[in-house]
């Protein structure tokens, strides 16, 4: 779908987004509840509420309510107009011209202009802002971003211009087919220059904050609660139904569950392993929906890694011997998907490649694993395979580790030592290739396969396996500017299944409880990017 639309867009040189659904889509005849307050649980305090600085998933959820970017995402995760109504793309696919609506306002009444975007985008890349998310601007291929971040050019040289108050022009350094999808992200939200200059870092406090979204920040008690209430200056305020959104910080997930059951919350997460029981107890409230994240075991292919892992037969044998159905159905029990390739099937525009071992029965896989192991001279007949498996302290990682090592031991005679470490110690060791095999997981930054596959490029800073394959690198580069990525991604996935630098284990699902009077939740949005303005509560 997406590819088609963008290909068409490229052909005619401009695109008008269908003005389908904004805000809450309440069916006729619905009786709304009197109290339109939506209360949900977050795990931890926000790292920041500043759109250009924030990194956390929960912080972006708040930012999407408080601010509005050029485009928003609809319930399926496709872009719909936000501050921008449409955009045009130049013939060389390098210049994007966005047309902004003229009725968008900041919460202090000032109009939202193209200049506010220019200010924000320059702010995101400026070294003195020191945004940890500045890499996103580089990823968007905005001309000049890389040099500015490296301190080699002035932030004003960023190729983004306000032609007038409602026209924003962006020039890219290279064509990027999914550029328009990327402008829904929080880093590229507009910023109110006057409020930031007046209050400095305190501009994100209630009372100081000026925002342009459907809600305004009214209360923020650190590590306890954050309250936002509908903004009457928002251009589409007439269609907002939820009056007030309350986020409660609850660190303990079981305690959050208790408070959900006591009626204090409308939404919470289901603690690991409890989904089947809760689905039985609360069938209309427990949900398991796909989420764009994968879980894998990473080999250490660097010189510091074990000699045995240099042999792809050993790597494949270990991958084949894992019975993913057991891990998904007996350990996790939350509707996760067994994974035989790296990119989750739910990724937009991604067609699942044919992977040989995905279609085998587990008995066939086990047999093949044993054969490969014997060929390589390890296993039950030969030299015993010994290595350690590194994971960060967590009950579910531990259970998966135990199950996997048990399978390797029984089927392949491998002796695996489990090594669990506190989060930052783990990251430090994994990042420095100080491990044999380590747990890995990745959640997509945007809904396109490259957000996953780029991880395995030789140049990627996230490539902890230190995997390097020239053909994969070539295909990844090609995919950046191609309009038909399917054959490229299929070939990459097939190479990965042969080389097996990482063992895909499963793809995530989100397990949550949602009160049945709360409607409008974007169940099909696999990025789990939602907007409170799309929700409404019905009378019971």
């Amino acid at each position: 779908m997406k590819t088609t639309r963008l290909t068409l867009a490229a052909l005619i040189g401009s695109t008008m987004l269908t003005t389908a659904v904004f805000a809450a889509d309440v069916p006729e005849g619905t009786t709304l509840a009197d109290d339109q307050t939506y209360t949900y649980r977050v795990l931890d305090e926000y790292d920041s509420l500043d759109p250009q600085l924030l990194e956390g998933v929960d912080s972006s959820t708040v930012a999407r309510d408080l601010f509005e970017g050029l485009y928003n995402l609809d319930a399926k995760g496709d872009i719909v107009p936000g501050v921008a109504l449409s955009h045009e793309v130049s013939d060389d696919n390098l210049t994007y011209t966005f047309t902004l609506r003229d009725d968008a306002k900041w919460s202090d009444g000032k109009p939202v202009t193209a200049g506010d975007f220019v200010y924000a985008w320059k702010r995101a890349v400026a070294p003195e802002t020191a945004s940890p998310y500045a890499w996103y601007m580089e990823l968007m291929s905005i001309d000049g971003a890389a040099d500015i971040i490296a301190g080699e050019a002035d932030p004003d040289t960023l190729a983004v211009k306000a032609l007038d108050d409602t026209t924003l022009e962006v020039t890219l350094s290279k064509p990027l087919p999914y550029f328009a999808d990327m402008v829904a992200h929080t880093t590229v939200f507009p910023a109110p220059k006057w409020a930031i200059e007046e209050h400095g870092q305190d501009w994100t406090r209630p009372g100081n904050m000026v925002s342009n979204g459907a809600y305004v920040l009214t209360e923020h008690v650190q590590k306890e609660r954050l309250v936002r209430e509908r903004s009457d200056t928002y251009w589409d305020n007439d269609n907002t139904v939820i009056e007030k959104v309350v986020a409660l910080v609850i660190g303990d997930e079981n305690q959050a569950l208790t408070r959900y059951k006591a009626g204090e919350l409308d939404k919470t997460d289901i603690p690991a392993g409890q989904y089947p029981n809760l689905k039985e107890e609360l069938p209309d409230e427990a949900y398991a929906v796909p989420r764009l994240c994968n879980y894998y075991f990473s080999f250490n292919l660097s010189d510091q890694g074990p000699e045995a892992f240099k042999d792809e037969r050993v790597r494949k044998a270990l991958a084949l011997a894992i019975d993913r159905d057991v891990i998904v159905d007996a350990v996790l029990k939350g509707g996760q998907f067994p994974a035989y390739n790296f990119t989750p099937a739910a990724t937009n525009g991604f067609e699942m490649p044919d992977i040989d071992y995905a279609d085998m029965t587990q008995a066939e896989r086990d047999q093949m694993a044993m054969d490969l192991m014997n060929e390589a001279g390890y296993g039950k007949g030969g030299e015993p395979l010994e290595f350690s498996y590194l994971y960060n302290t967590s009950e579910s990682h531990k259970q998966i580790a135990i199950v996997a090592t048990q399978m390797w031991k029984q089927k392949l005679g491998a002796q695996v030592t489990l090594d669990n470490q506190e989060w930052k110690v783990f990251l430090e060791n994994r990042g420095n290739q100080n491990y044999d095999m380590a747990r890995g997981a990745w959640c997509g930054d945007y809904n396109e396969a490259s957000t996953f596959l780029d991880l395995l490029a030789s140049s990627s800073g996230y490539n902890d396996a230190k995997y390097s394959n020239d053909r994969v690198d070539e295909l990844l580069t090609e995919a950046k500017s191609s309009h038909d990525t399917t054959p490229l991604y299929t070939e990459i996935e097939q190479i990965l299944a042969e080389d097996m630098p990482v063992i895909p284990v499963y793809h995530y699902s989100v397990n949550m409880l949602l009160k049945d009077d709360l409607k409008g939740w974007p169940m099909e949005n696999v990025m789990q990017k939602m907007y409170s303005k799309d929700f409404y509560k019905v009378a019971e």
Binding site: S131, K223, E224, Q255, A262, G431, G461
Partner: protein, 310 residues
């Protein structure tokens, strides 16, 4: 007395300075840093971030800048994990919370614990004595991490009387369970200490003299017996009180109060150096102040101690 207070205050400064230096280096020994993340930052961005927080400087320069800011500006630095906040903001937001429920917890402990102990001592081996002893044993086998969930199951889920957590500006419904869960095990100890201390005092010669003089029992108890009975309670409660008002990590996490116990544990996990240091300094200053207060309280109660304070 004033001179004594002043001398003690001066003497504690080098201790706190040592503590800062030790904590400063200890924190840096832990692998990883505040900006180590699942997604390692590209080198250019990491350099910008480190520069922004002064973490690119040599360690001794960082230490001196840090000390300078504390002593001259009372500024404990920025938080690395909460980028819109300073350590001062974090303490200012979290400390009143723990102080509030810690204070009420201490009140709960003293107001119930002392009378319970007194009754048990006066009615030794009676029904009330057994109730008190039974309660003390009960509170030992139900430490706060068992008691708190039980209370939530009872008062929140089953009876629907109290909210299961949160703070909401410190309304009383939100304070009750944290204060009680935090205090219960201390309550039993205070009752026990009061009981044995009162028994000892009641057996001493001056009480016999008072009785021989024919003073009414009430006067003997209130004027003569109670004050010396409280001395061991005070010395027991002083470190406990510091612990209570600086927040039990468990209570803060379990009841999601937003208190500084939560900040302490989060900061340790996220390597938020300045927050850890700021809280360590807060704890040590509070311990010092409370210890001094106990010494002064001793002096107020006990004339023998008073004459020794010079």
């Amino acid at each position: 007395m004033l001179q004594y207070t002043f001398r003690r205050t001066i003497a504690v400064l080098p201790t706190i300075l040592c503590l800062i230096v030790i904590c400063f280096f200890l924190m840096r020994l832990a692998p990883g840093g505040p900006f180590t993340s699942e997604r390692p930052l590209p080198p250019a961005i990491m350099a910008n971030v480190l520069e922004r927080y002064g973490l690119d400087q040599p360690l001794y320069v960082q230490l001196f800048t840090y000390l300078k800011n504390i002593f001259f500006n009372f500024d404990f630095g920025p938080s690395f994990a909460q980028r819109d906040r300073d350590v001062n903001d974090i303490i200012a937001a979290g400390f009143p919370v723990t102080l509030t429920y810690g204070f009420w917890s201490a009140v709960f402990v003293l107001v119930l614990g002392i009378p319970l102990g007194v009754i048990a001592a006066l009615r030794q081996n009676s029904f009330w004595d057994y109730v008190m002893t039974g309660f003390a044993i009960f509170s030992q086998i139900f430490p706060n991490f068992v008691l708190a969930p039980l209370m939530v199951l009872t008062f929140t889920l089953a009876l629907g009387l109290l909210p299961g957590g949160g703070w909401n500006g410190g309304q009383w419904e939100y304070v009750v369970m944290p204060a009680v869960a935090l205090g219960t095990s201390y309550l039993a100890n205070v009752a026990r200490i009061t009981r044995s201390s009162l028994l000892e005092v009641l057996g001493s010669p001056y009480i016999r003299t008072a009785r021989a003089k024919g003073l009414p029992e009430r006067t003997i108890m209130i004027r003569h017996a109670l004050k010396p009975t409280l001395l061991p309670v005070i010395s027991y409660m002083s470190p406990v009180f510091v612990y209570m008002i600086t927040g039990s990590v468990f209570i803060d996490v379990f009841f999601s109060t937003g208190g500084i116990g939560q900040s302490f544990i989060d900061a340790a996990y996220t390597r938020d150096y300045s927050v850890i240091l700021g809280l360590a300094i807060l704890y040590s200053v509070l311990t010092f102040v409370l210890n001094l207060a106990v010494d002064l309280a001793y002096a107020a109660i006990d004339p023998k101690v008073r004459s020794g304070l010079k």
